[in-house]
Symmetry: C2
Subunit: 141 residues, 2 copies
Amino acid sequence: MQHCYIYMKKLLKNKKIRETSFRLEVLKVLSENENPISMDYLEQSLPKFDRITLYRTIKTFLDKGLIHEVLIAGESKKIALCSVECNEENHIHHLEHVHFFCENCKETFCLEIEKVPTIIIPNHSINSFEIQAKGICQNCK
Amino acid sequence: MQHCYIYMKKLLKNKKIRETSFRLEVLKVLSENENPISMDYLEQSLPKFDRITLYRTIKTFLDKGLIHEVLIAGESKKIALCSVECNEENHIHHLEHVHFFCENCKETFCLEIEKVPTIIIPNHSINSFEIQAKGICQNCK
DNA sequence: ATGTAAATGTAACAATGTTGCATTTAATAA
DNA sequence: TTATTAAATGCAACATTGTTACATTTACAT
Ligand SMILES: [Mn+2]
Ligand SMILES: [Mn+2]
Ligand SMILES: [Zn+2]
Ligand SMILES: [Zn+2]
């Protein structure tokens, strides 16, 4: 994950989000954390911030598909950067995005795994689905 | 789903939750709704209630495994009764519990489907996992 | 450089969740 | 049945989280 401003500015531009200094600060914190972070952690990581502007920033980032929510039962809501799309140098395919919560270190991870077999629910048409797994992470084993 | 008080009282007893009139009222609303409901809906469905007691009731129900949370990205938190365990008369096996959000009628469903193939994440040990699907439900097709 | 729509900061407010404590109640023992 | 006791409740006061309105500032296209 790159943290430089040029990269972050490009991220905003790609998603048609106006570049402001505050949005770059928020994006910097998100970029520095590989794993999903809570609003609480985000606020503590920002040097100075206006609470209302932060809410609006998060809403904008969510609406424009720059970040996504990570909801694990019993855990506080977290957010994480969406993974970058394929480009000329780097193609990611046949991978399924899952959320993993480690019951030992309490950390939440966004993981890309080999595509799991299609889920079928009789008489329902599925447009998308999410998987949240709990267990013991790589580092804690 | 049975709604009678004898059944609800048994539910509480089985989970070692003290029987009180307020808890029976909450349980009644949950029993009357097959699908997960929001706190907001629950509050509006209770004849009279104390907000603080309601929070504590929900916490107790969650802790004792009588209800479970249903978290869908972008939707408000919902709760639903846990399905009844197997007993002498009725055995349920090889079914996986999934949450389905209908993008048309905006309803959330708890569904039991044929067991999906095991999900494997390299170097992680999975104790449990949840699936949240979005699409069009049975009724809306 | 200028115009304009978007973003920000301030304030006031609304909704949601928590804690302490005195009173009431349910479950248990006598 | 009654007495005992730990749990649940209701109230108040508080803390956290999220929203709205509006005047000011800023980004960005012309
Ligand atoms: Mn993720
Ligand atoms: Mn469910
Ligand atoms: Zn871990
Ligand atoms: Zn539907």
